[in-house]
């Protein structure tokens, strides 16, 4: 379950500990640093949504920490902690980008209000980004391709489970085609004439999830100007596909479990029970058994979802499918671009076969798309395949670290259809960090 990550930077142990204890009980994830130096070290390894920073510290001061953070990650909200005598410095800090300051000791009322205000502000920022992405989202379904034994086994399993009503959990690495498998099950099921409704649980901000899933009545909350059906209701008589189900927070897991058990729910702010009839297919690239052990996923929900499981093989375990897939994508992109290309050169195909494809089929698809765009001859040559370039980011050697980071993030986002949860996992940063970097670098979907 995602919670706000807060870093407390204060050289007084007792203040750090008491503040950390209070924030933990308030449901946040908390880390502490005893100096500016330690804070900067922690910032190399993790990103925080909020930092509470003491102004006066030996060595690197609170103001230095503020300056560093504002230069590198301006979306982090920094609250300066100050004693009465340092108020002018705190005001100066606000001019330099601090969100606010608080006098020690804090009034618990003011601290709670301030933290809530910051979280709301940051949620709104993320919501805007999410809505922009959602608007541009293109979903492309096509037939699944593969002659390899692992894929033939997947096809057989899909044929077996499609006519049933059982819930299916599809697991596998990012880009292995979990969404395609879900769609294939729906298409071959008795519900094929009903809707196929996808919920990308990793892309919907936490505070929007309840309304997205359950819908809301007009007036249920400030922005609920009209009654809106949620995705559960829209999936009636069809299939509900919960992609990235491992990203759902604990409270929503409780609600989802109840709906799956009772098939009845209420819109947010609604009093009328709504009965629904849909089949559930869920997908995740997380190890849910591990998530159960660490307490971030409910065991009862797991068993409810994992009635039948399908594991999608990674592309490097079915390399014999690469030529078939590459030709398929080539054909499609030639049609889309109207380019005069006949085939993939043998050497280029060898390279495709040798590569490990950590991004799986999606990475292959993107590699072929890019190759078609840059191709200057009638065949795809190895040099058209960006994955094999020795300058992986096409970055001139005088590029700054930030420029390289921006280019790399853009590449990963493009390769993964802007699936934020998936990209964050590949980049090994959390989602809020990724959102922040997307905003900072002004990255947008094409």
């Amino acid at each position: 379950m995602s919670s706000t990550k807060i870093l407390i930077v204060d050289d007084e142990l007792i203040l750090r500990e008491s503040l950390a204890g209070w924030l933990l009980r308030d449901g946040h994830t908390v880390d502490t640093a005893s100096s500016g130096e330690e804070a900067l070290e922690k910032l190399k390894e993790a990103r925080f949504d909020i930092m509470l920073v003491d102004i006066k510290m030996e060595g690197i001061s609170g103001l230095d920490v503020l300056q560093h953070v504002k230069e590198n990650d301006p979306d982090v909200a920094i609250v300066m902690i100050t004693a009465y005598g340092s108020i002018p410095t705190a005001i100066e800090a606000m001019k330099n980008g601090a969100y606010d300051y608080m006098l020690k000791p804090f009034d618990p009322n003011e601290l709670g209000v301030l933290i809530d205000k910051i979280i709301k502000h940051q949620d709104q920022e993320r919501e805007m980004l999410f809505l922009r992405e959602e608007h541009k989202e293109r979903t492309r379904f096509e037939s699944m391709i593969g002659q390899s034994k692992p894929m033939q086994e997947v096809f057989d399993l899909i044929c077996d489970v499609a006519p049933m009503e059982s819930t299916v959990l599809i697991t596998g690495e990012t880009g292995t085609g979990k969404g395609l498998a879900a769609k294939a099950i729906h298409t071959n099921s008795p519900r094929c004439n009903g809707p196929f409704v996808m919920v990308n649980c990793g892309a919907i901000p936490e505070h929007l999830m309840e309304s997205e899933l359950f819908g809301h009545q007009k007036g249920a909350f400030t922005d609920a100007k009209e009654t809106k059906k949620g995705r559960l209701e829209l999936a009636h008589d069809g299939t509900l596909f919960l992609d990235e189900v491992g990203e759902i927070n604990m409270r929503m897991q409780i609600d989802l479990l109840r709906v799956l058990e009772d098939r009845v729910f209420y819109r947010v702010g609604g009093t009328q029970p709504i009965e629904v009839d849909f089949r559930v297919i869920a997908a995740t690239n997380r190890n849910l058994e591990e998530a159960i052990k660490d307490g971030s996923f409910r065991e009862d929900l797991f068993y409810r979802l994992n009635v039948i499981s399908i594991k999608m093989p990674p592309l490097n375990k079915r390399k014999e499918d690469i030529p078939l897939l590459a030709e398929h994508f080539l054909h499609r992109f030639i049609q889309e671009t109207n380019k005069d290309i006949d085939k993939i050169d043998r050497e280029a195909m060898d390279e495709l076969m040798l590569y490990d494809w950590p991004g799986n089929v999606r990475e292959l698809e993107n590699a072929i798309e890019r190759a078609v765009v840059v191709a200057k001859e009638r065949k795809i040559l190895p040099e058209y395949l960006p994955i094999f370039c020795h300058e992986p980011l096409h970055a001139p050697r005088n590029n700054s670290l930030q420029e390289i980071e921006k280019a790399h993030i853009r590449l990963i986002l493009t390769d993964n259809d802007w699936n934020i949860a998936r990209c964050a996992k590949i980049l090994d940063i959390d989602r809020s960090t990724l959102y922040s970097k997307i905003k900072r670098y002004n990255l947008q979907k094409n």
Binding site: E12, I14, L15, E17, S18, L19, G21, W22, L24, R25, D26, G27, K104, P105, F106, D107, P108, N109, L111, G112, V113, M250, R251, I254, R298
Partner: protein
């Protein structure tokens, strides 16, 4: 109050307290957590936690002492104090708990608006019971709840305490059940 049992929650009054208050706390503990209670004072002198400059008592220090002195048969201890509590970063607290730990404390000082612990009118008993259950909830790993009617909702002032119900919301009930199940199987 009740006899010693294998897995009970210990109510530890500090100083003389109204028996109605203790009975109300005990009844609500049984109702919310399902555990029986016993009442025994394991800490009477809080002077070790007094901060002379603030003229308040450091609740974290009291929790450490409570946790060290908890009898083996008790799974949790709830102290009910009558002094003004603080943690160093905050001006005051109504109570404090070890998240997922064994000890918690609540004070009548602000919730009973300065009256003695033997003189607690019914409205104030209700307030103190709510905050006692709230702190005990933390020891069962419950965090602050965004639902303002839930007893685990963080209250910014006494009016907020009066406003919230004496019940856990449906999410917190399930999370509490999970935690109790985990405790019983571990």
């Amino acid at each position: 109050m009740t006899s010693q049992s294998e897995h009970s929650i210990l109510i530890s009054p500090v100083g003389e307290l109204s028996s109605e208050l203790i009975e109300a706390v005990a009844g609500e503990i049984k109702q919310v957590f399902g555990y029986s209670t016993e009442t025994s004072s394991i800490l009477q002198d809080l002077s070790f936690a007094l901060d002379d400059n603030r003229n308040q008592y450091h609740s974290t220090a009291i929790l450490d002492r409570l946790a060290a002195d908890i009898p083996p048969h008790a799974i949790r201890v709830l102290a009910i104090a009558q002094v003004d509590l603080f943690i160093p970063i905050l001006t005051h607290v109504y109570g404090e708990a070890q998240l997922g730990g064994q000890a918690c404390i609540v004070s009548t000082f602000r919730l009973n608006e300065g009256r003695s612990g033997t003189n607690v009118p019914p409205k104030y008993i209700e307030r103190i019971v709510k905050e006692a259950i709230h702190e005990l909830g933390h020891t069962f790993n419950l965090r602050h709840c965004p639902e303002d009617a839930c007893i685990m909702h963080y209250c910014r002032n006494e009016e907020d305490v009066d406003h919230k119900s004496g019940q856990l919301c449906r999410y917190c009930i399930i999370m509490l059940e999970d935690e109790i199940k985990r405790l019983r199987t571990s």
